[in-house]
């Protein structure tokens, strides 16, 4: 079971890293999303993985480590805010530059209209 989760995390990371190294904003955003999936799972499994042991008092005989879960929650929320900002920034940049490449200067031929 651990092997499955570990490999899953590895694959998510690899996908995320690869995509975030692309040259356009959209794949970069996707890539960072995958990285954050992987990282969230990673934090989560820092508390070990257990079946039927929700961290709720009196619900199950044993309880998995609740702290990493709290951390993941915080991480998810922050990640949400960050990605949202990044997406809008990408839109804004596209509107300003006329293209969505992460590096290139504005296209002179396309009409540049700020939203």
């Amino acid at each position: 079971m651990e092997a499955l989760v570990a490999s899953a995390i590895g694959i998510l990371t690899a996908a995320g890293v690869y995509l975030s190294l692309r040259g356009r904003t959209f794949p970069v955003v996707l890539g960072l999303t995958f990285v954050s999936y992987a990282v969230n799972l990673f934090i989560f499994v820092a508390g070990g993985i257990r079946l039927d042991a929700p961290p709720i008092v009196g619900l199950a005989p044993s309880m998995t480590d609740p702290l990493p879960q709290a951390l993941v929650l915080t991480a998810i929320v922050i990640g949400f805010g960050m990605s949202a900002y990044l997406v809008v920034l990408a839109i804004r940049l596209r509107a300003a530059d006329g293209h969505d490449h992460v590096d290139r200067e504005p296209d002179p031929d396309e009409d540049v209209a700020a939203p």
Binding site: M1, L12, L30, Y37, N40, F42, A70, L73, Y85
Partner: protein
């Protein structure tokens, strides 16, 4: 050893006085000049007041700590050497102030000139009286800076700008080297106090680091005193107004290096390193400067190189190390200051009256300005070392010392030969200065008829020339005492017996002088007959080198910077990840414990299926990432599986949160796709893709391995205590929620602040400042998909109910403000998307800025509320209620905090979506 604070005013008064010329800047040149003289005169009085004790061989001193740990004391000491140097600075400074009044033209910024001059004077005096090496460096750098501004005074001229920058670069380098040297000396001796250092001479010279310290200090001294090969900045500094050249670049600042050598003479001198380094540099500079000077056509150029040569002479004397040499050095410092300053002023007068300094165009001026001519004649005779003038005496001493040297080998004859050669050139350029300017036929090319300068403009020259003669004829009477105390201070001991007589009988030095005089005159007229005026000056080696260096630096720095920080994001991310990979991977090379561990939980079919789906979906995203909509949907799928994983491994809160966040994020991305191209072009070459692939694989491998290790390692955690104390003290059974709103509620507070900020940032990005809060218009409600409209409106009420439910149970069961907020937020958003923003706005008239901020305020207020009970921020108040009967009250504050979270989340989602759709409309319009 008398202690007096009045020493501070020696440089304090000129500093303070530098404000006067600025204050009088609009009040006429004479007044400004007088105002400027106030500071120096005051300082001179203090100096005079201290004279008796100084001439008794005492050294008034004053010291207050500044940065003790650094060894930096504000330590001043006025011994004979300092007194002499300070007096020189002040007297010549006053003469220059007087001279400058008539030299500068009406449209030059007068106030600034005198202010800078006084700043420089103060810094220079600071050097003179410092008794702490670091304090000395402090003033040293100030002189470099003020010299930079003074050279660049006529900043509309390119040569002035270039000269200023060059001077700053070279002397700045020296200053930094000197700083290094000082700190090395401190490491060696544990002190920066100059008088202490001079007492510790033997230890210093015996120390292993002595050569390092010596080289660094000499770098400082040589650059400042324009010793070969650092001399070239000085001729280029001649772009400065002539009073500045006379003052900074011949009389005082360029002497600072020599002053320092003399100041540290007892500490550093007396070794072979010293002899060869100092003596060698001095000798080369002496000859090279004299030779160069002979071939200058510009009066100031000639004087500049002659200054270089004479500085070399003094350096050589200090280097020789024979007992009397330092005395000669001190003596020549006085003499050179007097005749060279007067010559510069004369050159300035000539420039002023004829409009040129080019000796090829001048000539025959004697008929027009005999007095100036006479003065220049005497001064240059002194420069040439003609008997009955001060220059003769110190040059005699040099010859004598060069012979008195007890060193075998080539140096025994090299130094006298070189000295004589330099003497010949010295006479040659001195003769040229007089002959080419005042005689040698009528003026060759002057556009006006020159005449004597204003009376007062000549006064300073006259004073200095009189001094030359006075010292030349009555040395012992005029400067005997002064020279004695100064040399005593330099040597830190009783100076050897010497006589300042004009006549020492027929001896070799006299012969050398005769050779120099005769040979020099002969050389000059020989050159004159060989078309000296046609001579084209050779390349200034040092100068050319400097320019080359700067250009090389320009090119390399530019190339390097462009090559490294070319501003491509792809490289930045790649580098960052590579570095992290190394950081995380390197420790593992020591050998991994990781594979020894074994899985504790057996795998089961469900897990396998989930794993398979996740892997396939992920690979599919990578493969199909160019088709953006597909990629987005697949990504959403992966997100759902992740949330399933959370659910499966007993993290219900995570599962719920991940689920709703996923929905919200996908919604946002869908909207954004409307503003971005639908597909990603295939751009990166195979090599790049391969590189990224490898990087990605390694990262995946690393994180996977780490995850495996963490899961198999197990181990305990403080969270056991969280769980144990969750119900009795946190008042909730859902430990995760209690951690979020109570134990680590502060994190949550920060987290929602991040969310709010993100929303505000997005608003700032999307809304132009002019725009009001976007209020959609009605037409975008037209032609909506009816089914969608119905659906979006039907969903809302149950969604809100659900969120209320989730909110309420949060503290004890999975749920809570955040999830509830996302649910209602998404429902509201769908309402907007389905039925049109206009309709939504008419139904829900809320400024979500306020909702968001209100949420944050509520959360903060809840936390701060605890202060009322004398508790720290975020203390949940249920414990503060002592009645066990109304136990449900113990939820109160936590729930209030959670309500804040709820509002924030709803507000944020609505803000973002509102503005996005507003953008969509603006683009449509």
């Amino acid at each position: 050893m008398t202690t007096t604070a009045s020493l501070v005013w020696v440089f304090g008064l000129p500093f303070a006085g530098s404000f006067l010329p600025l204050a009088f800047a609009r009040r006429g040149r004479t007044l400004i000049a007088w105002a400027s003289a106030v500071g120096p005169i005051g300082a001179l009085m203090i100096l005079a007041g201290a004279a008796p004790s100084v001439f008794d061989g005492q050294a008034p001193s004053y010291s207050v700590p500044w940065v003790p740990a650094l060894g930096l004391q504000f330590a001043l000491r006025l011994d004979g050497w300092a007194w002499l140097f300070a007096a020189l600075i002040l007297v010549i400074g006053l003469l220059v102030i007087l001279y400058g009044r008539y030299y500068l033209s009406a449209d030059d910024p007068f106030g600034r000139f005198y202010a800078l001059l006084l700043l420089f004077m103060g810094s220079m005096l600071g050097i003179a009286v410092s008794d702490n090496l670091l304090l000395l460096i402090f003033f040293w750098e100030l002189t470099s800076l003020s010299s930079f501004l003074l050279i660049g005074y006529w900043n509309s001229r390119a040569d002035a700008r270039a000269g200023a920058r060059m001077a700053l670069a070279i002397t700045g380098m020296g200053g930094l080297a000197l700083l290094g040297g000082a700190l090395v000396l401190q490491q060696m001796t544990g002190t920066l106090e100059i008088s202490r250092l001079n007492e510790m001479g033997p230890e210093i010279r015996a120390h292993a680091w002595y050569p390092v310290a010596l080289v660094l200090v000499l770098l400082g001294a040589f650059t400042k005193s324009a010793q070969f090969p650092f001399h070239f900045w000085l001729p280029n500094a001649m772009a400065a107004p002539t009073p500045v050249s006379a003052y900074l670049h011949s009389a005082t600042m360029v002497k600072a290096g020599i002053f320092l050598l003399a100041r540290l003479y007892p500490a550093l001198s007396g070794t072979d390193e010293w002899f060869y380094a100092v003596g060698g540099a001095g000798l080369v500079t002496l000859v090279f400067g004299a030779w160069q000077a002979t071939f200058r056509h510009d009066l100031k150029g000639l004087l500049a190189y002659s200054t270089v040569s004479h500085l070399g002479l003094i350096t050589l004397l200090l280097g020789l190390g024979s007992p009397l040499a330092p005395v000669a050095a001190v003596f020549h410092i006085i003499n050179h200051a007097t005749f060279k300053a007067s010559l510069f002023m004369a050159a300035g007068i000539i420039d002023h009256e004829t409009g040129t300094r080019d000796m090829r165009r001048l000539g025959g001026l004697w008929t027009f300005m005999p007095v100036t001519g006479a003065l220049a004649l005497v001064a240059s005779a002194a420069m040439a070392g003609v008997p009955l003038l001060n220059g003769f005496l110190s040059k005699e001493m040099l010859f004598a010392e060069s012979l008195a040297l007890e060193r075998g080998g080539f140096v025994a004859w090299l130094i006298p030969m070189a000295a004589t050669a330099a003497g010949i050139f010295g006479v040659a350029y001195s003769s040229r200065f007089v002959h080419d300017v005042f005689f040698n036929g009528p003026p060759r090319d002057i556009d006006r008829t020159p005449h004597e300068p204003p009376r007062w403009m000549r006064i300073p020259v006259e004073v200095l020339v009189v001094l030359c003669v006075l010292v030349g004829i009555l040395p012992q009477v005029s400067v005997g005492r002064l020279l004695d105390v100064a040399s005593r201070a330099v040597l830190g001991a009783e100076p050897p017996a010497y006589s300042l007589a004009i006549w020492h009988g027929f001896n070799v030095p006299l012969l050398m002088s005769v050779i120099a005089l005769a040979g020099g005159v002969a050389l000059y007229f020989l050159l004159q007959s060989r078309a000296l005026h046609a001579h084209v000056g050779g390349a200034l080696t040092g100068h050319a080198l400097f320019e080359k260096l700067i250009h090389a630096l320009d090119r390399t720095s530019g190339a390097f910077t462009r090559a490294t920080t070319d501003g491509t994001l792809q490289r930045q991310v790649a580098v960052t990840m590579a570095v992290v990979l190394v950081a995380g991977g390197a420790p593992m090379l020591a050998g991994l414990p990781v594979w020894t561990a074994t899985a504790s939980t057996p795998a089961n079919p469900i897990a396998f299926v989930g794993w398979a789906v996740l892997v396939v979906a992920t690979i599919a995203v990578v493969a199909a990432h160019r088709a953006r909509l597909t990629a987005l949907i697949l990504t959403g799928a992966v997100g759902l599986i992740v949330s399933a994983v959370f659910a499966y491994y007993s993290a219900p809160d995570l599962a719920l949160t991940q689920l709703v966040v996923e929905v919200a994020m996908t919604l946002l991305m869908l909207l954004s796709l409307g503003h971005l191209p639908a597909a990603t072009p295939r751009e990166s070459v195979t090599a790049r893709r391969a590189r990224d692939g490898v990087l990605a694989a390694l990262c995946g491998l690393g994180l996977g391995a780490a995850a495996w290790w963490m899961m198999t390692r197990g181990g305990d955690s403080v969270s056991v205590e969280h769980a144990a104390r969750s119900v009795p003290e946190g008042g909730g059974t859902n430990v995760v929620n209690v951690i979020l709103v109570d134990f680590r509620g502060f994190d949550t507070f920060g987290e929602i602040s991040v969310l709010v900020t993100a929303a505000l940032g997005i608003v700032a990005l999307l809304a132009r400042p002019s725009d009001p809060v976007p209020v959609p218009v009605a037409e975008d409600d037209a032609d909506r998909e009816p089914a969608l409209v119905m659906l979006s409106r039907i969903i809302l009420p149950p969604a809100l109910l659900v969120s209320v439910y989730i909110f309420l149970r949060g503290h004890n069961l999975p749920g809570g403000g955040f999830i509830a907020g996302l649910v209602s937020g998404v429902a509201l958003a769908l309402l907007g998307l389905g039925s049109g923003q206009g309709w939504r706005h008419r139904m829900v008239r809320i400024d979500f800025h306020k909702v968001t901020a209100a949420g944050l305020v509520i959360a903060a207020a809840t936390g701060i509320g605890a202060w009322a009970f004398g508790q720290p921020f975020m203390t949940s108040a249920h414990g503060a209620v002592h009645l066990p009967l109304i136990g449900e009250l113990h939820l109160a504050t936590a729930a209030l905090f959670d309500l804040g979270v709820y509002l924030v989340v709803v507000g944020v989602i609505m803000l973002v979506l509102d503005h996005l759709s507003a953008v969509r409309r603006r683009e449509a319009a």
